[in-house]
Amino acid sequence: MSRFLRVNMTTGEVKFEEVPEKYMPLGGRALTSQLVYDEVPPTCDPLGPYNKLVIAPGLLSGTSAPSSGRLSVGGKSPLTGGIKEANAGGIASQKLANLGIKAIILEGKPAGSDWYLLKVTPEGAELLPAGDLAGKGTYEVTAICRERYGKKVAVITIGPAGEMLMPAAGVTNNDSDGNSSRYAGRGGLGAVMGSKRIKAIVVDSPATFDVPVQDPERFKAAARKFAKILQDHPVTGQGLPSYGTNVLMNIINEAGALPTRNFRFGRFDKAAEVSGEKLAEVAVARGGKATHACHPGCVMRCSNVYPMPDGKVCAPIEYETAWCFGPNLEIGDLDVIAKLNYICNDVGLDTIEVGCTLGVLAEAGVIPFGDGEAAIRALEEVAKGTPLGRILGGGSANAGKIYGVTRVPAVKGQGIPAYDPRGCKGNGVTYATTPMGADHTAGYAVTANILKVGGFVDPLKAESQVELSRNLQIATAFIDSSGLCLFVAFAVLDNPEGMPAIVEMLNAMYGLNLTADDVLNMGKQVLKVEREFNRKAGFTSADDRLPEFFSQEELPPHNTVFDVRAEELDQVFNF
């Protein structure tokens, strides 16, 4: 029987609650967003006592469904001021689901300055003092917790950036090897966790795949079918397992959509040097791994293990991170990228936001473009809490204001990821309109725009991008609720049997009779709830726009501007 674990940090009360009927069919993002909508006043201070941090496994998490161990973390974002769901891999989701926990809700705020650890085991949950963990980086915290509570525990934690309530702070958890690198990174939810004075949540579960399903035979057949669909698709079966997400570096560069030098150019002459192909070569030569699963039961295994020259390991280096510290800063050295990535993981920051912020700082002349050592030195300021460190942890939009920079790639205060909206206009529509602030995953139009998955829509033309983004945002909102990794979408978009297989797993697990239309309606409902929260928080259509320079400055090599009209952008959610 699944339950909510509600932790009131004002009173210190920790209690399990029965899940009210209305939340039973929800999981992952659908659940975090609905709970935030129902329980968090939209106008509240994101770091105050009325905000809540909601952590929820997806609907299929903790079963044998392939690649289903995604974790949703939700709340009101200190970065955007709107609703946020950040989605992570790692092992926490499956463990929570196997403990019968549908969601953890952290609420209130303690009066004192003590830090706490929430320990969750099959026997129950308790708050413990965590003063000894305060100030420590996430790698050390995770190592201490695994030492103290067992090698197999999942550790959900924040770094010093989260403790210092920085708007770019993320919430991390670990993979099976203990790397605290699986981030619910975006939107500053690490600061929300920090505001609750929770340094870490330790989840100890003996089981990983044993969440009860109503019809085990039917479920097993559907799961097997879905695994085959993933293995048979060229992207999920071959592309992702071979080179990981950073295989994108070269194709986005060749397509002329790789944001270079803070979104000034669409190509970077050293792109190949920081690509997935190079990464795989170096990782393997140094004894690392070109392919690795972020959680047990993943068939795509798009992660990697990159040994750094200093003997530490950065696992993984993802495409977004390689881009934001590479081409975005005109840095063509994977070792520099790995170091910046590692520091972010350790200090507890979202890599994309930090990369965008470093780009803005370079624009302002605070650090030079192309200077890896200067970027590393700046990032090392974060843990010290110096003014520069706090600016860096404050995100790109804030840094732009402080330094008077107008070339700031951000929407709703959140930094734009690794596809220039002038060279991949479908993603431009998604950046502008998603309730999350600029987020590539919210409606990943790179599929049809560049990868030729799920059809083809010319990335350089304005036509059809709104419809493409709309359909992807709806499907994504559902996938993010299912616990499945969003990357299953590559196969689902091309294989008409994909979505029915997912629906079949849900029906077999919960004893339901859902149709594909029903689950897409769930996606629509998620978006409606999120949009409504944002509306009540003060957002209008004026917030659904890209920064001005994207419509004014042409992006080489195709010399295009973002020209999807405002009235069209306002039609994305017309359902």
Partner: protein
Amino acid sequence: MRLEVRVFSGLEKFMPGARFGQAIEVERPEGTTVAGLVDSLGIPRSQVFTVLVNGRHAAMDAVLQPGDRVSLFPPVGGG
């Protein structure tokens, strides 16, 4: 005519000495199509999933022009 070819993500294994992302200059007759180029490079067509010519998607029957930058990819994805 002279073409500038780049291969990626494993396709380089079909071309001895080639390295991913490195520009390879080749001479081909006028009128050569993408398919003709791929065949002449010894890369099985079934392995080529995406073709970009000067950064734009091109079909296998597209006719190449002098100086074109041709980039060949197997299935790739991520995000």
